[in-house]
Symmetry: C2
Subunit: 110 residues, 2 copies
Amino acid sequence: MFEKNLLLSYLLDQYGAVLGERHRTLLDYYYNQDLSLAEIAAEIGISRQGVRDSIKKAEEELFFLEEKLHLHERTLKIAKASERLLALPLSNEAREAVQTLIEAAELTPH
Amino acid sequence: MFEKNLLLSYLLDQYGAVLGERHRTLLDYYYNQDLSLAEIAAEIGISRQGVRDSIKKAEEELFFLEEKLHLHERTLKIAKASERLLALPLSNEAREAVQTLIEAAELTPH
């Protein structure tokens, strides 16, 4: 469950901007702020089952986007490749250019 | 018009996998294969106006995704940063690590 939470948080980070406001808010409450279904239901004034159904739909949307665009998978690969590269001896100029490339490749929308 | 075509082709490349099959096909006919609305209408058996409306909706979806995820914008930045980096003197090991990073950062879904 913890691992699933973490993955969903990452996906929400990558694709949250594409979700509707309501879905984004629900997932943020559930995965980032760790509220229970009952607490979210009380907060936004719908049934616990309604919260559960909406969260499920929003999760499916995130998984669909990752399946199609692979942004989370790419972020992990970029992080690994960057780490390897920056551990090598580089000139100051090259190091600076690498930092620019890493910033350009940073996939989480600003 | 040519510039618009080119941008739409890029966006279709970035986000095509997210579109429904029908929208993806229509945009591919129109922007990549350069068919006219009338030719597409004949090809798939709907009215010219129907083709036009569907293409407009699919384009809006692509622009929405780019506004939210900026993948095309990032691809351009990555290309520029990569070019700059690879023009510098680098050890073979560093050059190889840069290539791995560029491949990882390559945003067009495979």
